[in-house]
Amino acid sequence: MRAPKLVFFAILLMVTVVLAQQPVPRQTGVLRLRVRVKADDSAPLRGLARKRFFLIPGTIEQNRALIDAIERQALLSRDCYYQKIGASSALINWLRESDCESVYCRGVEQEFVSGPKAVPEFATAFATSQKEYGNDETARQWLTTNLAPNVRDGFYRTQQTVLQTLLKQAGPEVHSVMTDRNGTAYFTDLGPGTYVLSNLIPTELGQTFVTWNCEVQVKPGDLATEKPYLVSNRKDRNVKCVGIEKPKPVCATD
């Protein structure tokens, strides 16, 4: 009599365990960002391309310490960094022309290696590469391998150090995407809840730095097809997240 009871309870226990292990389908949402900015009041509104945005779980209040750290960070512009390391004005202009954080963001064309538009750092690196690789084309394409590390990507690495510290503070569940050339980006596979949308590192825009820290609600079933979440540095009735602008500090001179 006891045995059937035991068998029954054993089966019941087994079924409960099996059911508990069944994965519960998680309904996720998508947040479609559209970032439109003005470099200054007279400039047209345009998509902010190639800018990384982060989505941090929790409310603004829950992330207060992180937001304070974002707002307190020292502002260092690309121009100031390169001036500080003694880079040539030709290199600073070359980086500025395409809004590059490092020399990797655009190919180095021949006109920047020799001739009136030559960048001295590139010319020196090219001469070294010529000797090393014995081929002008390879020497030009691989020119960055013979640049000094701080010239090559010192500014980018400085930014990354700050970013990694902030990300560590933000915790392990941070999502990130980069906007496309039109300023659009998608955060996919998001659990429903409240998030803080932030760029963590202030974005250089004209003569200012812009920081975005806004609270966003994601509902289960939010789709990529829905109206985009508008982000800007200018107020407008459709803009859901307006950035805070600070003027660029003057570069320190030694």
């Binding site: 391309a49 395409s98 990797y104 963001c105 655009r106 064309e109 995407v177 097809t225």
Partner: protein
């Protein structure tokens, strides 16, 4: 007693079969997984190899020294030592011909670590559109293979221009990108749902020239190649192909299904996909409730 004897005999044969020292090793196959083949990569692979003509690279098998140091007996075994067939297409002391490096017929022994997110940050920082288009971007690595598919890098040309030295992982740090794995056959053609889409040069007015991340929305967040999917949402297509006053390609085919449930969508899809039920995302874009073909009268 008889039981113990049987077990001992079984164990003896088992050990002969599976133990590498007791069984005959197959020297026609080379595995990086073998314990003694796991020394530093430059023990065998010298960089650059002699036939790297356009740029310094590893383009050939290691020299004989790399093998002979341990495998002298196998090297000089008979007229056609089987170990030679690992690299040489003909086993003869008078023929140096080798398979292409790496041998395309053999399974891959390493996976590749490539963080798209980090590379997007540094090589694709084109913020505002610019007249010149020769910036570093996805095409640095993904050239056109066919009009349908882009190519994946097949050599180091797109890596070493930055990673030859100084920028880690450098050329001598093979393990920075290549991780030993269970041998596998790589997938050459990815699965494409909308097989008729053509990249550059595609479109009736050849206007498929949007940048890659406009449609491949998850690339900029991908820290690894594992689990990487093309991830093109329907909005990537319908921004142009289902717009009021522009085109109604999606709506037209959904209406065609309303009239004939056996209609096959052909504008984007091949029949194997076009004859299935359109997914909910398609109906959502068309601002209609989703339907199943079987429910259409």
């Amino acid at each position: 007693m008889t039981r113990i004897k049987t077990f001992t005999v079984f164990l003896f044969f088992f050990l002969i079969c599976v133990h590498p020292r007791l069984s005959a090793a197959d020297y026609s196959k080379f595995s990086h997984a073998t314990q003694k083949h796991q020394a530093a990569c430059n023990t065998c692979h010298k960089i650059p190899t002699k036939n790297a003509t356009t740029f310094p690279d590893i383009k050939d098998y290691p020299d004989h020294d790399a093998c002979v140091s341990c495998h002298r007996p196998q090297f000089f075994k008979g007229a056609k030592p089987v170990i030679c067939s690992v690299c040489h297409s003909k086993t003869s002391p008078r023929d140096e011909a080798r398979y292409a490096f790496r041998n395309p017929a053999s399974k891959l022994q390493f996976t590749i670590e490539f963080p798209h997110d980090r590379h997007q940050d540094v090589i694709a920082m084109l913020r505002f559109s610019h007249a010149q288009q020769n910036y570093y971007n996805c095409t640095v690595c993904h050239a056109s293979r066919t009009t349908t598919f882009k190519a994946a890098p097949a050599d180091h040309s797109s890596c070493f221009n930055c990673h030859w030295k100084a920028q880690q992982p450098v050329a001598t740090n093979c393990n920075g990108c290549h991780k030993l794995a269970t041998p596998y056959v790589p997938i050459t053609d990815p699965t494409r749902i909308s097989i008729k889409f053509m990249h550059e040069g595609g479109g009736e007015k050849k206007q498929h020239i949007a940048e890659c991340t406009t449609c491949h929305i998850n690339i900029t967040k991908a820290a690894s190649l594992r689990g990487l999917k093309p991830d093109v949402p329907i909005t990537g297509c319908t921004e142009c192909h289902n717009k009021e006053g522009l085109r109604q390609d999606l709506n037209t085919e959904l209406v065609a299904i309303d009239k004939n449930r056996n209609f096959t969508c052909v504008y984007c899809h091949a029949p194997n996909v076009g004859s299935l039920d359109p997914p909910a995302s398609h109906y959502l874009i068309a601002e209609r409730p989703a339907l199943k073909r079987k429910d259409i009268k």
